[in-house]
């Protein structure tokens, strides 16, 4: 296709008009934005020189062959390289030889297909621009008339207006069907009830060290130390372990009693040992970045900071409540025990929390 095939009106406006040489071409009154049309087509070297075209062909074929070789390499390395073999590759470090080989061959195979296709399209396929004219969207009047006539004919034949029983039952069926979808919404419930307000902790439950799975003695907990505890009787293999520990997780720290500023905190502690919920009151991240000199606890998710020496008051960040404290004491054998459940719901606030 050459410029001769382009319709007359799409050709570039003539630069030299009747009014004089060198004047800026002014479009006529009726069509102020004349379509300048397509620029004249220029040939690529491959269009002129057959040897260049052959060269391009060889390059494309070489890329596709490279892709084939890489695929063969992928299969070969999958079969040949043991899974635990490790090699050192300079910027990547000690990596799995299998991962490296599979990734490289797969990457090369796909990239070579793409690069070959791009090179083929750019150098050998026709690059002549073609204009395709738009057609008006509106249908022809005869077509419109026929469609309307067909519709009316169909409506008459269906007798929907005459057989009212069919029409009404059909409307009923269509109206009722979406109800089955609405019913399924019930599975969003039931409401949690009081589940959010209670944890496994209750009076007399021992505090069990998460590291050793043994009950904690008051004498085990040193000033400045950090220990995590779960309620007695909750084992990691229990079916609802995750559900329960998500509410009951505790962090145990020991402060010098004279450093505790909050009176209630002091009263609920045992010789400076305080037990706080490990669940952030913002959105419930496990929070235990404890700084033993400042007594601050930082939440890693949104940087809420709590002061454990002052009733776990929020001193920074988006959390809305102090961390709930668990009231603890010791039993006759010297083991730490809970003196009840948390007084307030642990974790993030919810609508009915109050």
């Amino acid at each position: 296709m050459s410029s001769q095939d382009i319709p007359e009106e799409n050709l570039p406006a003539e630069q030299v008009d009747e009014h004089g040489h060198g004047a800026v071409a002014l479009a006529d009154e009726t069509n102020p934005f004349a379509d300048p049309g397509l620029p004249p087509h220029e040939h690529r070297i491959q269009d002129i020189d057959e040897r260049a075209a052959k060269r391009s062909e060889r390059v494309v074929a070489m890329l596709f062959t490279l892709s084939m070789l890489a695929t063969v390499g992928f299969i070969a390395s999958y079969v040949a390289i043991p899974r635990d073999k490790s090699i050192f590759v300079f910027p990547l470090g000690h990596i799995s030889a299998l991962n490296f080989a599979l990734g490289m061959t797969l990457g090369v195979a796909l990239f070579a297909i793409g690069a070959g296709a791009v090179h083929w399209a750019r150098t050998l396929m026709s690059d002549v621009e073609i204009a395709d004219q738009r057609h008006p969207i509106e249908a022809e009047p005869e077509v419109k008339a026929k469609v309307l006539a067909d519709f009316k004919e169909g409506a008459k034949e269906s007798a929907l207006g005459r057989r009212k029983l069919i029409r009404n039952t059909m409307f009923g069926a269509l109206a009722l069907f979406p109800l089955s979808g609405v019913m399924l919404l019930r599975d969003l419930g039931p409401l949690p009830g009081t589940k959010l307000r209670h944890t496994l902790w209750s009076k007399g439950k021992l505090l069990v060290n998460m590291n050793t799975n043994e009950p904690l003695r008051a004498s085990d907990v040193a000033v400045g130390s950090l220990t995590f505890a779960k309620p007695e009787g909750l084992e990691e293999h229990d079916e609802d372990f995750q559900l329960q520990i998500a509410k009951a997780a505790l962090m145990i720290v020991r402060l010098q009693p004279e450093n505790i500023k909050d009176k209630r905190e002091l009263a609920w502690s045992h010789e400076g040992i305080v037990a706080y919920s490990k669940i952030c009151t913002h959105v419930g991240c496990p929070i235990s970045l404890y700084e033993q000199q400042t007594h601050h606890v930082l939440c890693p998710c949104h940087q809420s900071t709590f002061d454990l020496s002052d009733g776990a008051r929020v001193i920074f960040g988006p959390a809305g409540h102090a961390l709930p404290q668990l009231r603890i004491g010791v039993n006759e054998q010297g083991y730490l025990e809970a003196l009840g459940d948390f007084e307030e719901p642990v974790g993030p606030a919810f609508w009915e929390r109050g």
């Binding site: 220029e42 040939h43 690529r44 070297i45 491959q46 269009d47 002129i48 490790s86 590759v89 910027p91 990547l92 470090g93 000690h94 990596i95 799995s96 991962n99 490296f100 791009v118 750019r122 150098t123 690059d127 060290n209 998460m210 590291n211 050793t212 904690l216 003695r217 004498s219 085990d220 907990v221 040193a222 400045g224 130390s225 950090l226 220990t227 995590f228 720290v253 496990p286 929070i287 235990s288 970045l289 404890y290 700084e291 033993q292 000199q293 400042t294 601050h296 930082l298 890693p300 940087q303 900071t305 920074f316």
Partner: protein
Amino acid sequence: MKKLSARRRHPLAAVVVLLLALAATGGLYAAFAPASKAQADTTAQSLAIDEGKKLFSVGCASCHGTGGQGSSDGPSLVGVGAAAVDFQVGTGRMPAQQPGAQIARKKVIYSQAEIDQLAAYIASLGAGPTIPTKSQVSPEGADIAKGGELFRTNCAQCHNFTGKGGALTHGKFAPSLEGVDPKHIYEAMQTGPQNMPSFPDTTLSEKNKKDIIAYLNAVNGDDTESPGGLELGGLGPVSEGLFGWIFGLGALVAVAVWVAARTAKAKKS
């Protein structure tokens, strides 16, 4: 014999008998005394304490007080134990360059012998955790999987999942545990340096500490394998996402621009 018995009333006889008795007692004591080695040890120990005291007076007393009792510039060292000294001085944190949010690791100033003398002096001020032995900190025979579990429960919140470290409040940070001597990791758990809480043997047993060291050795040691490669600091989704967006998408955009921008025409315009 007659001569000897004849002289028993001699004025010097009592002196001679006394000398003989003394010599015998001394000889017997020298022959049977069990304590010759122990005596040397105590001497060496008290010598180390003396030397440590001298080093302390020069390098530490300006902040920690002349008797290690502490001052407004530094905490009391009574009862911190030899392990705390070995950690603080052995990692170069002490002597501190300047007060600040956190005293960072730097070049170690004292030799190990001097550190041991300082530690001996501080340990003499009050009982505290001792420097762990080689076998206590060796990862041999430890349970790496259990160590990983313990690390994630107790340490990962600050030091990240494989001990790469992380930020805390007001300029404080949990340092990376890469390349840290297992002995110092053990001492840090035991003594809780600076703002790190301690994990004493009563709540995290000796065996547990060994497991944690073995885990760190497996995931963060010199020969640690990273099967995927290019772990981008091991910091997790932040650095990985940033890399993906900038370099992954960036490379795609660059290739697309390159393909479209280079003309294939014979006559370049």
